[in-house]
């Protein structure tokens, strides 16, 4: 199920739904049922189609993209487990390093190229910040955040009511 999401400003969120055995909640209607299942089934959840971090440096634009971008955790899912793809692209060739914030060691570095990608396994229950720095001068060129949202709502099965007045 794909729906526009407040979590992603310029993209969409893809909900991983479990098999929908039923979509007839008594009082809430089919949309609410899907919404609730979406929330329940979210273990890893978001794909940003064009969520970019733009930074102007030396009059050039660097585009940093991560996907997925958002993970919603609830009581049944305590950790976001997924594969994170990080991509960057620039108009000019550059020498750059990708860092996770507060980590001294870079995740990856590139020499004289205008694009790069890095894939890493996610195992987190907190948001992660990624920084793209110019290798020589350590200048911050772009940043992007993998956001972890905690949804502690509890859910239960709706009651059936074959004799509802309406």
């Amino acid at each position: 199920m794909t729906m526009c999401s407040p979590f992603t400003r310029r993209g969409c969120t893809i909900f991983k739904l479990t098999a929908l055995h039923r979509l007839w909640p008594n009082a809430a209607g089919p949309y609410a049922g899907a919404r609730v299942v979406g929330a329940l089934a979210l273990s890893t959840c978001a794909l940003t189609l064009a969520n970019t971090a733009l930074a102007a440096s030396q009059s050039n634009v660097i585009e940093l993209t991560i996907k997925p971008k958002v993970c919603v955790l609830n009581n049944d899912n305590e950790t976001c487990l997924d594969e994170l793809n990080i991509n960057w692209r620039s108009d000019n060739t550059r020498s750059l390093c990708l860092y996770q914030k507060r980590q001294p060691t870079p995740l990856a570095c590139w020499e004289n190229t205008n694009k790069g990608s890095h894939t890493m396994a996610l195992n987190t229950n907190t948001s992660l910040n990624f920084l793209l720095r110019e290798s020589q001068h350590d200048e911050l060129l772009a940043s992007e955040t993998f956001e972890v949202i905690h949804d502690h709502k509890q859910y239960r099965r709706a009651r059936r009511n074959a004799w509802a007045f309406f």
Binding site: L20, P25, A27, V36, Q154, N161
Partner: protein, 286 residues
């Protein structure tokens, strides 16, 4: 609307309701105190958020035929629905209950209170013995009050159908009767349209049927007109459809046909053998 009027303004009803609720809650609390695997549900697509209210208001047109002599059919324009679910406690529009067991295919609820909708057929009650062919001194036939019922409800929830059964007892003192009903419901969902078909049977005890459809000996001069109603079994078919356009707006339609039991049909104040309902509305979800 008549039902709401009774619930809100009838002081005697409130007193009885409070007593019934207190007694039933005490009973349920004893049961619930035991460490059972009650609310560890495995909801899939039919989940509701715990601790949140859900409101909707249907704005449309519909009618329910009234089988009782000289009583108008019941019109529906605005139909509110609301629900609140705690971990076990729930309010489902007019029903208040407590979930004792909810796992896999099975859900077992205590119904703390649910209204007996039979009274809705007697909302403008002014019938006299002369209306049913009696002669001599006129007597108004006895008032039919709204009853409050308590009991238990079991639902077998299969991915492709529900089978639900209720056993209910009047706890409001209106008629002290019982009601047992069972229904099979087949739901399906396609392209944002939700459909639901139900078929069911309702048994009403002689006390219940007699209270609403009986004619007492002190109400008529000709004792041949006395009607002591026996227990009755009715059957019904119901179809519902609902769709949503967006977060707030949708459409809904309901139709049902109920064949009344012979104990009801044979009453001198009943002029029809069935109740037909149809209603279509736009629905606003708050």
């Amino acid at each position: 609307m008549q039902l709401l009027k009774h619930v809100i303004f009838d002081g005697n009803w409130r007193h009885r309701l409070g007593f019934a609720l207190a007694a039933t809650i005490a009973t349920i609390a004893l049961c619930a105190a035991r460490p059972t695997a009650a609310a560890e549900t495995t909801c899939k697509g039919d989940c509701v958020a715990v601790g949140e209210w859900d409101f909707s208001l249907s704005v449309g047109a519909g009618t329910r035929t009234n089988p009782v002599m000289q009583q108008d059919d019941i019109s529906f324009l605005l139909v509110p629905k609301f629900s609140y679910y705690g971990k076990r406690f729930f309010i489902d529009t007019y029903d208040v209950g407590y979930t004792l067991f909810d796992r896999d295919y099975h859900q077992f609820n205590a119904i703390l209170i649910t209204p007996g909708f039979e009274q809705t057929f007697f909302s403008d009650w002014a019938l006299t013995n002369q209306d049913i062919g009696d002669t001599g001194e006129a007597h108004k036939l006895h008032n039919r009050r709204l009853a409050g019922l308590s009991g238990f409800e079991y639902s077998f929830i299969h991915p492709y159908f529900d089978w639900q059964t209720q056993v209910l007892q009047d706890v409001s003192g209106a008629h002290d009767g019982q009601k047992v009903r069972t229904a099979l419901t087949v739901p399906w969902f396609k392209n944002n349209h939700a459909w639901q078909l139900s078929a069911g049977v309702t048994w009403q005890s002689d006390k219940l049927v007699d209270y609403y459809y009986g004619v007492r000996s002190n109400e008529v001069n000709n004792q041949d007109l006395v009607y002591q109603a026996p227990a009755a079994t009715s059957t019904y078919l119901k179809a519902e459809w609902e769709t949503r356009f967006n977060k707030h707006w949708g459409l809904r339609a309901v139709t049902s046909y109920k064949k009344l039991g012979s104990g009801v049909i044979d009453s001198p104040i009943v002029v029809d053998d069935h109740v037909f309902t149809i209603y279509a509305a736009g629905v606003y979800h708050f």
